[in-house]
Every structure is written in structure tokens, then in C-alpha cells.
Symmetry: C2
């Protein structure tokens, strides 16, 4: 039986119990609010994780790349939403997947792109299912709910071009900037009401809009009503991370992803322990730097995942991390963390940290460890 002691460092650990707890918490929440749940698999890019989400009740998946769509379709998952506005040059790959039986939905937010979809679809005698992206918070892509001309413009191009309008989709990315339950609740309601309003506007104009899809981890956990919403999406909740902790939607002991590392040296006068996890293992994501509590490159735990009060990963080179007190110099750093001792580091942003690793080491409650594959690229 492989256990923690056998692992090479640095490596990405998944605490399976915590992951299952996070999956159950989100699924039960969305079930109780009466919507279906479509997890975003960009966080894990790993089949065992996604299987656990589907077994818990998820219906379909959300992907951020066509590579994810291809990998998970190969693994037997048909109902897939590609939640990034389609680039015309990717329609070939989308069509190939759809012709192989993948129920792959694409999204757009402009007449220009809608016309490209129509032109390509008509040339290939194929009706793509297209969802229209709504911008509920000025965060990124999408049509603002009150921009009637743009919304109806896109719908009419798609409809007249004989494409299928599958629904509307929004993501309240600004929820990551919240720090209070009140702020989260307000963004959640803004996401819901704006997206539902866009759907109703489409229906009033005579277009079909069966799906109303919203979501982000913070809003999905904060929403009190999902009236008019048919499905919710969320991704990072499966692992959680320090950014989500600062947003206020998880406790540190709910973080399911960490990086195992080994102490390789010290700078005693500076109070530094140097570890073999640098930014290559943690990513360069410093998401907590602009939040209420800055965790540096990560929160330091013992080998078994228990946080060690006051210590952070305060600096990073490619393959070197600096572990130190957040405030002050620890004169006993060499004795506290001797060369060869192991620590776990909780990451700022699980999606970014996971992406640095070719596989996960998933730990069962009996201490056994299983290598779970992970893919990357486009």
C-alpha cells in the first residue's frame, strides 16, 4: 500500500474525504434550491474527481477548453457545455465532437460570432446548440441584461440561421472580490435576476430559452433563491482554496488540495526554511494578496495537513519556496523544520496550483494513496 511516506516531493495531494464533503455540500445545496448542477471541471481536469461529482448528482459538466471536452467525452460523458465564447476556428473541432455523439453546447455574446456560427453550420448542414452569454457584473464577456439590441440581435441571427438557442449563461466573477455574506448575497441575486431577465426578454421576443445557467462557487453557496434558474455551475468548490476562504465560503479545514514539500535548507538569521516547492509547484497565483488576509504563496501545515499557526510560504523561486513566520523572525527555524522534514502547503488558488501538476496523489481515510491522472493543454 502506497502511503504519504512514499511520495516524492513536491506533489499535489487530494484529501478524498474533504473533496467528497465539498461535493456533497454543493450538490445538496443546489438540489434544495431546485436547480440542477453542472460542475466546472477546469479545476481538477481529472476523471476520478469528475466521476465523484456525477455520482453525487451532477448533471453534465462545464469545460473551459475543447481539450477538456474531448478528454471527458472519451471517458463517456456526453452532456458538455463549453463555457468560453466560441472562436470560429474551433467550430471544426466542435462539429467533430458533436458528430461523434457529444452533446456539446457552445456560447457566444456577439452578432459577429453568431454570424460565423451560422455560416459554418449552414455550410456543414449542422445546427449547433448555442447559449447566449449574459454579463451580470461587468466582469468579463457577455451582453448586459438591459442591452436589448445586442441580445435580440444575437438571438435573431442564430434563429434565422437555423441554429438552436439552448439558453442563457452567466458567471458572476466579481463574487471573488466579496468579503461579507451581505456582499455575496447581493452579487448572487444580481447574477440570478439579470440572467433570468435576459431569458424572459428572449422568450417575450418569441425565442426559445430552455436553460438559464448561472454560477460561481461563492454565489452558488450564497444564493437564497434560484427562482427562474434551471442550472448552476461552480468549479473551485471541489477543492476550495485560500481565496475562497477569504471570500468567506469555506473553512481552512475544508481545503482538499495541498502541496506536499520537503525542507531542503535554511537561512537561520532570516528565519527562513527553504522547501522544494517553488512557484512551479504552487503557481504564481497570489490571489490572497488583495484580500483581507494575505497568505503569501500558501498556508503552512504539518505533513498531515494541520495548520501551523503563523507560518506562510512567504517567497518563491521556480523550485524553491521560503517558509517563515508571517510576522517576525523565528530564531529556531532550523530545529522547528529540520532538513528532510515535510510540510503541506495550502494554495491560494486551487485551479492554478493543480494545473502545475501532471497528477494528483489522492489520500483515502485509511492513509492509502492513489495516483489520479490529470491532463493539461488545449
Amino acid at each position: 500500500m502506497t502511503t504519504l511516506q512514499h511520495l516524492n516531493t513536491p506533489c499535489a495531494l487530494i484529501d478524498i474525504d474533504k473533496m467528497r464533503h465539498n461535493i456533497a455540500r454543493m450538490q445538496q445545496r443546489i438540489d434544495s434550491l431546485g436547480a440542477s448542477f453542472r460542475p466546472h471541471v477546469k479545476t481538477s481536469k481529472s476523471l476520478p474527481v469528475v466521476q465523484a461529482q456525477l455520482e453525487a448528482g451532477a448533471r453534465g459538466i462545464t469545460v473551459s477548453t475543447l481539450k477538456e471536452a474531448e478528454e471527458f467525452f472519451e471517458a463517456g460523458i456526453q452532456d458538455i457545455l463549453y463555457a468560453v465564447c466560441i472562436s470560429p476556428a474551433k467550430l471544426d473541432a466542435v462539429l467533430q465532437l458533436r458528430r461523434r455523439g457529444c452533446d456539446l453546447k457552445i456560447i457566444t455574446d456577439s452578432e459577429a460570432a453568431a454570424r460565423e456560427i451560422v455560416a459554418y453550420g449552414q455550410a456543414k448542414a449542422h445546427a449547433f446548440e448555442v447559449w447566449i452569454e449574459i454579463d451580470v457584473d461587468g466582469h468579463r464577456s457577455g451582453i448586459t441584461p438591459d442591452d436589448d439590441d445586442a441580445l435580440i440581435g444575437v438571438a435573431s441571427v442564430l434563429h434565422e440561421g437555423a441554429m438552436s438557442i439552448g439558453g442563457v449563461i452567466a458567471h458572476a466573477g466579481s463574487s471573488y472580490d466579496c468579503a461579507t455574506p451581505q456582499a455575496l448575497l447581493a452579487v448572487a441575486e444580481q447574477e440570478r435576476s439579470g440572467t433570468v431577465a435576459a431569458a424572459e426578454r428572449l422568450r417575450a421576443a418569441g425565442y426559445s430559452c430552455p436553460v438559464v445557467s448561472i454560477g460561481s462557487t461563492p454565489t452558488a453557496l450564497a444564493a437564497e433563491s434560484l427562482a427562474g434558474v434551471t442550472e448552476v455551475r461552480a468549479g473551485v468548490y471541489v477543492f476550495f482554496d485560500l481565496v475562497m476562504h477569504n471570500v468567506g465560503v469555506c473553512r481552512p479545514d475544508e481545503l482538499a488540495l495541498s502541496v506536499l514539500t520537503t525542507v531542503i535548507g535554511h537561512q537561520k538569521t532570516k528565519g527562513w526554511a527553504i522547501v522544494d516547492a517553488g512557484w512551479m509547484a504552487m503557481s504564481r497565483d497570489r490571489g490572497s494578496a488583495r484580500q483581507q488576509r494575505d497568505f503569501g504563496y500558501g498556508l503552512v501545515c504539518d505533513e498531515f495537513g494541520k495548520p501551523i499557526d503563523g507560518y506562510l510560504m512567504s517567497g518563491a523561486n521556480q523550485e524553491h519556496g521560503i517558509v517563515s513566520l508571517a510576522c517576525g523572525v523565528d530564531p529556531d527555524i532550523e530545529q522547528r523544520f529540520p532538513v528532510g522534514s515535510r510540510l503541506r502547503l495550502l494554495p491560494n488558488h486551487a485551479c492554478a496550483t493543480a494545473a502545475q501538476h501532471p497528477q494528483y496523489q489522492a489520500i483515502e481515510s485509511d492513509g492509502s494513496v492513489h495516483a489520479w491522472p490529470r491532463f493539461y493543454g488545449w
Copy 2:
């Protein structure tokens, strides 16, 4: 023949002519200063790149992980320096490589680790070649040149334990913080003189110290003398990047690595074009943010690599990038960069951006493109 037009986006492009120019420039410089050159392959992790470095005159390679040592040894390279202080648990893997014929050197900076190396080496009846790391600028690991007790302490543990002392090694990482030729020259001389002093101190105490190895891209390009130095190491020079541009050691048209991306939408009132390269394609590295010129997530060029004055990648989500004017709002962004048009993005930090990609698309001067493999992980 595959050309730029056939490539899926986002992808990592290498301009082969620029790469060869960068390789020749560095090799000629170190040749003329009378040292040998050992490139750090952590930047590319790609055999065709490393082969070009060796063909130009490099002697041996530097690695940041044992995975790199294993991959490049499999490809026929024997002379390898693992330039991160050894963790005792990795000695098994080092021994396996050495017994297979890999001339793998390890480094340390503490008596504690030296004792572990000796204990393991004696148990296996193997004399590891160990280099001692010197800290010339308070940047990271290493023994300061004037810390006689630590330096002689490590050497004596290794020598009495029958290990081979191969040399001293230093890396002036603080050179990345420089912005003037004078500052660079001063750091380069500090790196040289401190490391040579440590070597001389070892020799005076009766220990062998055949190699004096220093280097970083900025100091290697700034040094006026390498007296007492036997070899120089540098990594990022092979591609260069915007951080190195800000340090003052390359021009924008010498950057050999870029990310090809496609415009997928706009937010007209904000002057945004949204592209399909987010932080997953660029990395979260914002190295230029604390330098004299902040390039956001990257400098925007046309599809053929020509910079477009004034435009940056100003924001990033996982698979979305925001391209906008660095100052002000472009009212014509939709016409300037229509949906489906392609751009190239020059990265802040080549090592970090390259690490996000499973392969490179290497462009020859005739426009043909070759997929060059790249590996990752530990």
C-alpha cells in the same frame, strides 16, 4: 507544410531564428570571457532547444528537478548539475542515475544535509560529487562567502565522509531587480568575487574546488571579468522575456517565445478585446508589475510578432484574456481586432509561460512550423 495559419490557439510559439541568435550571443560572450557555459534547461524543458544550446558550444546542462535530469540523460546528455540543494529523500533517485552512467552533480549548503549525503553514500558505498552553494546576495539558499565556519564545516563533513567536493556554485538572483547597467555590473562582480573568494578559502583550507560556477542571465550578460570563474550558468536568455527587457539585457524583438491567441469577443464601451489566452496560457506571473514598465500579462503583437504600440493584455481569467490600451479606451477595438483575428502575446516570464504548455510550435524562417515536445512535473 504546417504553418502559423494551421495552429490551434492558444499555443506557445518559438521563433527559431531569435532563439538561435540568443544562444549564439550568450555562448560567444562566455567564450570570450574564458569560461565554459552550462545552460539552465528549466526554461525550455525541451530537447530541440537544449540540443541547439549544446551544438553552439555549451558544456553540460543545469537542471532544477530530477525529472529534467532523467529526461535529458535518457536523451544522451551525461554532464548534469542539479542546482537545488538536495533533499535526503532524493538521494535514491540520484544514485540510480549515477549508476546508469549519468555524471550528476548535487549541491548543498548545510552540515545537516552534508551529513545525510555522507550517511547515505557510505551505506551505498558511493562517493557523490557535491558542490557547495554560496549566497552572494542574500537572495535565497547558500553560505555567505565570509561565513568561514559554515563553509569549512560543510567541506569537512563531505571530505571526511569520502564524498567528492566538485566546486562552489552561486546564483545572483537579485540581478533580476536591477534596472541600470551600473547596477547589473555591480551585482555581476559581487557574484564573481564572492564565489571565487569561497573557492579560494576552501583551497586554502586544503580542500579541492575544481569548479567555480556562477550565473544568471543578467549577470552573465553584464560581467566584464570572470577571473577565477570556470563556468557560467543562465537559463531564460534562450527565450528572453519582458522582465529581462525591463532589466535591460534584451530588446523586445529578441523575445523568442510568445503565445498565439484568437480574439473571441469585445466589451466595446470598455475598449476590451477578449482573447482565448488567459492566465492558463500566460501563467499568473506578473513579474513586470514591480519593474520600471508594467506590461500587464503581456505585450500585444500582431500575428507575425510585430508589437502593436500601446496595447497590453491587461487582465486574465483562466481561459480569457483582456487586450486593451495600456492607457485610455480604444473606441474602435471591435474593428481593430475583429472576432477571429489573431495576436501574439509576449510574456513577462518565459519560464513560467512555457510551463503552461505541453509543447511548443517552433517557427522556421521559411514559415514552416514544427511541434517541439516539452515535459513538466517532478
